[in-house]
C-alpha cells in the first residue's frame, strides 16, 4: 500500500469512527411501531433495518461486484437469502442469541473477507486457492441471519403471533434487500463497460477491506466497553 493510500485509509477510519457503532441498532421509535402496527410493522422494520444496516449491504456489494450477469446475481443472492432466513427464523424462534457486538464483529469480518477476496488477496498475499464463493456466501448468509435474529430479539415482540412476526420481519428484510440492490446492480452493470471500471472495482474493494476492519475493531471496542 502506498503512502497516499495509507493516509486516505487512516483519515477515513478516523472520520468514520464515531459512526461505526451505528451500523444498526434498536430505536425506541421502532419498538413503538412494532408494538402498535401489527405484522405490517414487522415488514417495515425488517426492510428499514436491511436498508440502513450497511454491513449487510456492504457484503452484498462485494458479492455483486464479483459476479457477471443477472443469472449469477440471482443465484448468489438466493443462497444468501436462504442462509440468512434459516438463522433469522430459526434462532429467533428458538430464542438463541449472542452478544450483539460479537455477532456484528463477525459480520464485519465478512465484509473484509469479500473485499479481500475480490482483490484476489488469497492468491496474491496468502498463496492459497480462493474458497468456493457460493459456499462462503451461504455460510455468511447464516451469520448475517444470526445477526438479524439477535437484533429482532432485542425488541419486545410479545408472545402473540410469534412465528408470524418473525416471518414478517424476514419478508421485510428481503424486500429491503431487493430495494437496496436494484440501484447497486444498475450502477455496477452500467459502469462495467467503461474504462474506469477497474479503478472503481479496486477502490470499492479496498474500501470494503477498510470498512470491514473498522467495523470489526469498533464492535470489539463496543463489546469490551459494554
Amino acid at each position: 500500500m502506498t503512502g497516499l493510500t495509507t493516509r486516505i485509509s487512516v483519515l477515513a477510519i478516523a472520520c468514520l469512527a464515531p459512526a461505526l457503532l451505528a451500523a444498526h441498532g434498536v430505536s425506541s421509535g421502532d419498538q413503538a411501531i412494532l408494538s402498535e402496527g401489527g405484522l405490517l410493522a414487522y415488514v417495515y422494520v425488517g426492510a428499514k433495518h436491511m436498508v440502513s444496516g450497511y454491513d449487510h449491504l456492504l457484503f452484498l456489494v462485494g458479492v455483486i461486484f464479483y459476479l457477471k450477469g443477472l443469472r449469477d446475481i440471482v443465484r448468489f443472492v438466493t443462497v444468501f437469502t436462504i442462509g440468512h432466513s434459516i438463522t433469522l427464523i430459526g434462532a429467533t424462534y428458538l430464542g438463541i442469541r449472542a452478544d450483539e457486538h460479537l455477532v456484528d464483529a463477525v459480520i464485519a469480518l465478512s465484509v473484509l473477507y469479500k473485499g479481500f477476496e475480490n482483490l484476489e488477496g488469497f492468491k496474491k498475499y496468502l498463496g492459497v486457492r480462493t474458497p468456493n464463493l457460493l459456499v462462503m456466501v451461504g455460510i455468511f448468509g447464516l451469520i448475517h441471519g444470526f445477526g438479524l435474529a439477535t437484533r429482532l430479539q432485542s425488541f419486545d415482540i410479545g408472545a402473540d403471533q410469534f412465528l408470524a412476526k418473525i416471518v414478517s420481519f424476514n419478508i421485510g428484510v428481503e424486500l429491503g434487500q431487493v430495494l437496496a440492490l436494484i440501484p447497486i446492480v444498475f450502477l455496477i452493470s452500467r459502469w462495467r463497460e467503461k474504462e474506469s471500471f477497474d479503478a472503481l472495482y479496486r477502490s470499492v474493494n479496498v474500501y470494503l477491506c477498510i470498512a470491514g476492519v473498522g467495523l470489526f475493531c469498533y464492535q470489539l471496542y463496543g463489546y469490551f466497553q459494554a
Binding site: 477515513a12 468514520l16 444498526h24 413503538a32 410469534f162 474500501y207
Partner: protein, 326 residues
C-alpha cells in the same frame, strides 16, 4: 432437598391466583391506542375476568396528572379483562387497579395449602408455632396492582408517584433506565409506610416466549399459550426501610408480587390479606452512559449520515487515486 422445595414452591406460585397488569409490550407510542390486560391467575395465564364493581380505583398517572378511568374503558377478551385507553404526551406512565375486598372461608387444610402455595410463609409458620394448623379461617382479601409503561422516548418522574393503595411497590429509580445486568431497587409500602421483612417474589418472562424447549429445559411454562418464566425466580425480603434490590438479569416482562397477611379483629373474620404486584418491561441490552437520556439516533440520525458521507468521500478518493495510476 432445598432445591426440590424451592422448585415445588416455584411451581405452586405459578399456579396461584395473583393479579397483574400486563401488556404485549411495555413500550407505547404517544397519542396512540393502548390495551392493558388485567390477568387474574398467573403471570402467564389469566383464569377469569374481573367484574367492574370489584374495581375501587383504576388510575393512570402521566405527566404529573392522575386520571381516573371509568368502567366504560374495560372490555373482556376471553378470560382477560382489558383496559383500553389512549396515551397522551410522551412520558413514563403509571397505571393501577385496586379491587374491593372479598371474603372467603376455608377449612384448615385448604387454608394451609393456600398459604403454602401462595408463598404466605410467615402466616403458615405462625399457625404452626401456635398450633393453629387445624383452625379454619375466614379471610378478607383485596388486590392492588400496578404497572409502569414507557410512552415515547421522554422519561418523566411519574414512576415515583405512589397511587396510595393499601399495599404498593414504589420503584427507587425509573425502570426504563434499566438494561440487563443493572440493579433495581423498590420500596414496599403498607398504608403509605415502609413494610419491613416482607417476602416478595421477583421473576421475569422473556419476550417472544412461544417457542418450545427440550425435556431438560429449566423453564416452567404456564399452558404454553403465554410467555414463560425462568428459573431465575427470586424470594427476597424487604429491609428495615421496606426496600429490596435485585439484578434485572434479562430483558422481558418483570413482575414483583407479595401477599401481606395479618390476623383480623373484624367480626366474622380471622385474617385480612392485601395482595400487591408491580410489572414493567426491560428492553434491549445495548449500553448507555450513566444518566443517558436514552435517545436513539442509530439508524437515521447524524451518525449514519456521517458514515455514508465518509464512505463516499473515501471511495471517491480511492477511485481518483486508482484511476490516476491506471
Amino acid at each position: 432437598m432445598k432445591k426440590l422445595l424451592f422448585a415445588f414452591f416455584s411451581l405452586v406460585v405459578l399456579c396461584s391466583h395473583d393479579m397483574y397488569l400486563k401488556l404485549d409490550t411495555f413500550f407505547l407510542q404517544p397519542n396512540g391506542k393502548a390495551a392493558i390486560q388485567l390477568f387474574n391467575g398467573t403471570f402467564a395465564e389469566s383464569e377469569n375476568t374481573i367484574d367492574r364493581d370489584r374495581m375501587i380505583d383504576v388510575s393512570v398517572i402521566a405527566n404529573g396528572q392522575r386520571r381516573t378511568m371509568d368502567s366504560t374503558h374495560w372490555r373482556e377478551e376471553g378470560s382477560v379483562t382489558v383496559l383500553d385507553f389512549t396515551t397522551g404526551e410522551a412520558g413514563t406512565y403509571v397505571v393501577g387497579v385496586s379491587t374491593r375486598p372479598r371474603s372467603l372461608t376455608m377449612e384448615a387444610d385448604a387454608f394451609n395449602r393456600y398459604l403454602e402455595h401462595d408463598g404466605v410463609v410467615d402466616e403458615l409458620e405462625r399457625r404452626r408455632t401456635n398450633d393453629l394448623l387445624d383452625t379454619d379461617a375466614t379471610e378478607k382479601y383485596s388486590k392492588h396492582v400496578k404497572t409502569i409503561v414507557q410512552v415515547g422516548e421522554e422519561k418523566t418522574s411519574d414512576w415515583s408517584t405512589p397511587l396510595g393503595y393499601p399495599i404498593e411497590f414504589v420503584p427507587l429509580s425509573n425502570p426504563y433506565d434499566l438494561h440487563p445486568g443493572d440493579p433495581f431497587g423498590v420500596q414496599l409500602l403498607w398504608q403509605g409506610e415502609p413494610l419491613a421483612n416482607q417476602l416478595v417474589i421477583v421473576d421475569a418472562e422473556m419476550g417472544g416466549a412461544a417457542h418450545e424447549h427440550g425435556p431438560d429445559a429449566d423453564h416452567d411454562h404456564g399452558d404454553g399459550s403465554g410467555g414463560h418464566t425462568h428459573d431465575g425466580m427470586k424470594q427476597l425480603r424487604t429491609d428495615a426501610d421496606g426496600t429490596l434490590e435485585f439484578e434485572v438479569s434479562q430483558e422481558g416482562s418483570w413482575f414483583l408480587r407479595t401477599i401481606y397477611m395479618q390476623e383480623s379483629t373484624e367480626e366474622g373474620l380471622t385474617h385480612e390479606s392485601n395482595w400487591g404486584t408491580l410489572t414493567f418491561g426491560v428492553a434491549h441490552g445495548h449500553s448507555h452512559g450513566a444518566g443517558a437520556d436514552h435517545t436513539h439516533e442509530h439508524e437515521g440520525g447524524i451518525a449514519a449520515y456521517a458514515w455514508w458521507i465518509g464512505s463516499i468521500v473515501l471511495v471517491v478518493g480511492l477511485f481518483v487515486y486508482f484511476n490516476k495510476r491506471a
